[in-house]
Symmetry: D2
Subunit: 265 residues, 4 copies
């Protein structure tokens, strides 16, 4: 095949890990942190095709050193209470790695995470209510690989509500749209290409609810990780080229060297 | 200004006018036909800037002769019970006029109208239930002129439900997304460019409910008509050009004739 | 992995096969027909991952019976001199199979092929000149799988020129843009989703030039075939669902049956 | 009409004004600065419908105080030699005003201007050569208001070359594509919505050539200014709403207050 998948895909699951340590209610749901549950979801679905590690805010350089990112094919991100504690240098480093080819999956309140905002360029503001809404997640792009095997609708038992208007650039591909008990709607699964990398935002997952244990939610996250794998072998920014030789001259040389076109015989 | 609006905009409101004649319940809501109420909504908002006439299925050539279309800037379309009774010739004529610059506003069950399907190229299938759902219509593109002055959300008191998946090409601009009492969602306002013309689909308006009397719904329809006005003076298909003279030769002649560039002095 | 590729991918290469039989010049370039060379290009790159057969206009039902299409994952199409000789029934059959999941790769003058026009909904008109232009094909979406391994630019030694304006819906993904010796430009590689299927248009390949022997062109066609493979197991149109049970009621039943959410333990 | 245009539109033309002061060659072309010529182009086409002022890098706060931006409907930006001399605070202020509704027209080397990069989220890198290429600017979206009255192609006599790959998010609307003498291509006119504002990038205009005196180029800039006018009365960021009252409850109250729907009589 022309497009062999990297084997195994190197995934880093980033968790803020603040609520889990300070809020008893959250710790009861996620005793080892939300990131461990997200990591398990990815392993569960992608198996030997991935190697998954975790990183958290409290680690040096927020756990995202140049070395970590350089060896990460896809990064997932969950943060909420401490967006500002992520250093600007780390946020820019993540942005640069995405533009250079790394995939990024932003989960729930990561709509306000520094790297996501840098990549979107917008306020990423939205409507919200934390009151046990039931969410129905509808697929609007049934051919998209992130929707593969996802029920129509995918039922999220209870969660914080996010509603429109969600101030992001119109997604290159809109995959999911949600409704909530309260009647609000949200573009809950959107895909963007940025530089050499891919970004997917997936809405569910407030820390107060056991969202990331639900099978359908786990399936979407794993699908998104597989989709966001780098498409190029090298990790590098799109180039800035000083093209002193006009393309038509280079093409003429190339054609001369190859005898114009391959011949039928 | 560079873009004077045509004055007045010539609007034709097409109504199937079948339910209104045969179903007592519908006639009670729309005694003079749905098309007359839609036409009034457009006049109410656009006033002297428009001249609105109506046309219906039972007229010769379904009311859409070449002469009628040639003098129509924007056509609105509502049909449901008798899509197949629109002649293929008329459907193709409407398609050709849209590709040549005429605007088209497809309302509710016109998702299955022949001209809309020809312009989309897809099945236009969807999920539905006619059971008095309340619809909340959320703006997801707040800068779009069709959303100007529209409440967030726009409440549609009761109507048939349409739900995803809606099989249309991803809209060039997604303006509205709806939720329903039953928890379904729908991309209820989408815009597409086709050839020299513009198409907008707006979901509300089953014949069994007085939807087109509601102020917010009327506002959207009028906004859509204003948005869909032709952008070019002439009504013509995009061209097929045999360009025997290479563009660089034509450009050289043009530059020679104008002394290269205008000079500062 | 979540997304196993069908093995092997069943590809049908459709060729009009008119020029090759009646024009000596074309027969000299493509003695066994253009379709055989396109088929070889796909086999060359995709190897055991594909099974490729060919079909031509002169066969019964233009070679595209229901049985052939039902067993085709991706169809490639080249036609020019005899678009009108493809029966309307066959064209609609191809459209329906695409909407049901089959991939379609439209090559060069297939911009005017009946199935492509049905899927686009537009005139598909363009600018043209058959005068040995050199084409430079530039990748504008470097993460797209169809651009994988394609040189920047890809040099097409000589070919007919196609120039803008090309009257198609704005592609969901614009992959390639070409320039020509004469200074014209063209959106030469565009991707569209339609229903459950995917469509890619690739510009090069007039019959008067040995375009389909060039390695880079062959690579793009093979990449496109791999990209257009169906994303769903079944071949079926998007559904029209009468959803008598509101989604929130169905969701409540589902949640009751599964004890709400999976528990941490 | 539903959409009255603000009268007059308040335009600020920002010029870096570095080349014009230090490079004799540039001063010979633009003796009063490039910004004055751009300002004249806008006045020439939009006349009484606009009030145009200029601002430059060397002014306090780079000429873009909160007061200036708060009274600017559309900002045009040209910079090249001194992007880094624009303060981060000013760049963020411009970004916030765009997200709050102000239009932004980025010209030529402003692809690397801080505010444009913040709004795109990408590297904005490209291919280039400063060697008197002739540019042909082709309209690929003939219904777009920015293309109104623009020749096909628009000939730019000589200019720096910019070529693909241009690392920006895929434009919401791609309006122009250029070819150059050297055979390169470029997406030379792209439109993006960001927050409540609109952004247009237009490629031509290196300081070494009298590009902004050319009639067609001036027409495009003026069209873009008119297109980018704010669509909302107030200048404010998209909201972040804590929606304690579910939308369905608010809707029920609203419907009760208005007797459900307006009645036919």
């Amino acid at each position: 095949m022309t497009l062999p998948e990297p084997s195994p895909l190197r995934v880093t699951v980033w968790g803020e890990n603040v609520h889990e340590r300070r809020d008893e209610q959250v710790r009861a749901i996620y005793p080892d942190g939300m990131h461990t549950v997200v990591a398990d979801a990815i392993r569960e679905h992608l198996g030997d095709a991935v190697v998954v590690r975790t990183a958290t805010l409290e680690e040096p350089e927020n756990g995202l050193t140049e070395e970590v990112l350089a060896s990460t094919d896809v990064l997932t991100w969950w943060g909420h209470a401490a967006h500002d504690d992520v250093s600007d240098a780390v946020a820019q480093r993540v942005q640069e790695h995405v533009l250079s080819g790394m995939g990024l999956i932003a989960l729930h309140s990561a709509h306000f995470a520094k790297p996501f905002k840098l990549l979107m360029g917008t306020s990423c503001r939205l409507r919200w209510r934390n009151d046990h809404d039931r969410e129905l997640i509808w697929t609007v792009d049934p051919t998209h690989p992130i929707a593969a095997g996802v029920p129509q609708p995918l039922v999220n038992a209870e969660d914080e509500m996010y509603g429109e208007h969600f101030d992001v650039p119109a997604p290159d591909e809109l995959v999911f749209v949600s409704s909530f008990t309260g009647g609000e709607v949200f573009r809950s699964g959107g895909a963007w290409k940025r530089g050499h990398g891919k970004v997917f935002y997936f809405r569910p997952g407030d820390q107060d609810y056991p969202v990331y244990y639900q099978p359908g939610i786990r399936r979407v996250i794993a699908n998104a990780v597989a989709w966001a794998r780098p498409s190029r072998a090298e990790r590098e920014l799109p180039g800035i080229f000083r093209a002193d030789v006009p393309a038509i001259e280079a093409a003429a040389l190339e054609l001369a060297a190859t005898d114009g076109v391959a011949s039928p015989a």
